[in-house]
């Protein structure tokens, strides 16, 4: 039977295209235009060419913020992914306890970002916060607003508290989708718990774990609200991540040109990483479909 080729179906994509144009493409074009110009306000611009890019790429400010950002994303992935898997493995498989567990795990995900920051800001204070007070009573010197190490630890624990349950829920969904015969075969072979995890559960969770890694990496790479509320990027610049630095530049200093160049480079890095993750996920899906 001859197939009908109808290119008019492309018109159905038009509404989405219009929506994306107004929400993403036109603002992006404006940012590109700003990045080659300087402005002193009142919508008056002066062409400066590649000056902002040169200035930023040769400044320590950008590289320091990028380094902090990559370190932060690396640390939280190293903690949240194994911890999320561990939590998922420990969760009840069925019954009312499984439902209660799922609801409890979802709670941190429902809290708005700025509220999370505020909770930890109060929680960590040595004068009124539970954590800060307990640590100071134990004789441990802890002050996230003055000590860079304490600030980093607090920001990391806050992120782990907020987002590990997402990884756990995804891993749990992956675990629940493994057919029983796999476990029965492992039992017949007298496989150890580790072998069951290594050769059955982990490979079967590969797809959802890739999604978890992608989501957590992208989200941590663009983190703004929680550390901004908690530390404001300080002490000094210790927790000034890329987005905090960008907002300082764009709104604090009103340097529209450099901020536009900064955000474009930031966007390009995110686009590159997203493409790599997307390609890996597609390749995994195709490999799984072949098996």
């Amino acid at each position: 039977m001859e197939k009908t080729v109808n290119q008019r179906a492309w018109l159905l994509v038009l509404p989405v295209l219009v929506l994306v144009a107004f929400s993403s493409i036109i603002p992006m074009m404006t940012v590109v235009n700003y990045s080659f110009q300087d402005s002193f306000g009142e919508n008056i611009f002066f062409w400066v060419g590649l000056e902002w890019y040169q200035e930023l790429l040769r400044s320590e400010r950008l590289w320091d913020a990028l380094g902090r950002q990559l370190l932060f994303s690396f640390i939280i992935l190293m903690i949240e992914i194994p911890l999320g898997i561990l939590v998922a493995l420990s969760m009840p498989k069925k019954g009312i306890s499984a439902s209660i567990c799922l609801v409890l795990m979802s709670l941190p995900l429902l809290i708005p970002y700025n509220v999370v920051g505020t909770i930890w800001q109060v929680f960590g204070r040595a004068d009124i916060g539970l954590l800060g007070r307990i640590l100071s009573d134990l004789g441990i010197s802890y002050n996230y607003s003055q000590n860079a190490f304490d600030a980093w630890v607090t920001v990391i624990i806050m992120d782990v508290w907020h987002w590990t349950s997402l990884v756990a829920l995804l891993a749990y969904a992956g675990l629940r989708s493994i057919p029983k015969p796999y476990y029965q075969a492992a039992m017949i072979d007298q496989a150890s718990r580790w072998s069951v995890f290594r050769y059955i559960e982990l490979p079967k969770m590969r797809g959802v774990l890739m999604i978890a890694i992608l989501l957590r990496f992208m989200d941590s790479f663009m983190i703004y609200t929680e550390p901004f509320v908690l530390t404001g990027g300080g002490p000094g610049n210790a927790t000034t991540f890329l987005s905090i630095d960008l907002v300082k530049m764009a709104l604090g200093q009103f340097d529209l040109g450099p901020a536009a160049a900064f955000s474009l480079m930031y966007f390009l890095v995110i686009l590159l990483i997203s493409y790599v993750f997307y390609t890996v996920m597609i390749t995994i899906d195709k490999d799984e479909a072949k098996q």
Partner: protein, 90 residues
């Protein structure tokens, strides 16, 4: 449109990208691309190769700006050569 702070060079840049996308779209309708596995070991279509070329070009240009004081057309020549490589072997 004044608020978008348009300039001639950026307008030419976006028109070129737009023309490239429309051209590739029309080319795909006339001669549909078939997937192939190249040096990266991933399956790519013509559109993927264009995307890889454009994204790489952005990074080549940034590296050129950050590392060298040479005129920018040098980076554009490298981008062109790299795009040929991507379309031929990736």
């Amino acid at each position: 449109m004044e608020w978008m702070a348009w300039t001639l060079p950026t307008a030419i840049f976006f028109l070129s990208i737009g023309a490239l996308l429309i051209g590739m779209g029309l080319l795909h309708m006339k001669y549909p691309s078939t997937p192939r596995v190249g040096v990266l070991g991933i399956e790519t279509m013509r559109g993927d190769r264009l995307f890889i070329s454009l994204l790489s070009s952005a990074f080549i240009n940034l590296a050129w700006i950050g590392l060298l004081d040479a005129p920018q057309y040098g980076a554009l020549i490298i981008c062109g050569l790299f795009a040929i490589f991507v379309f031929r072997w990736v």
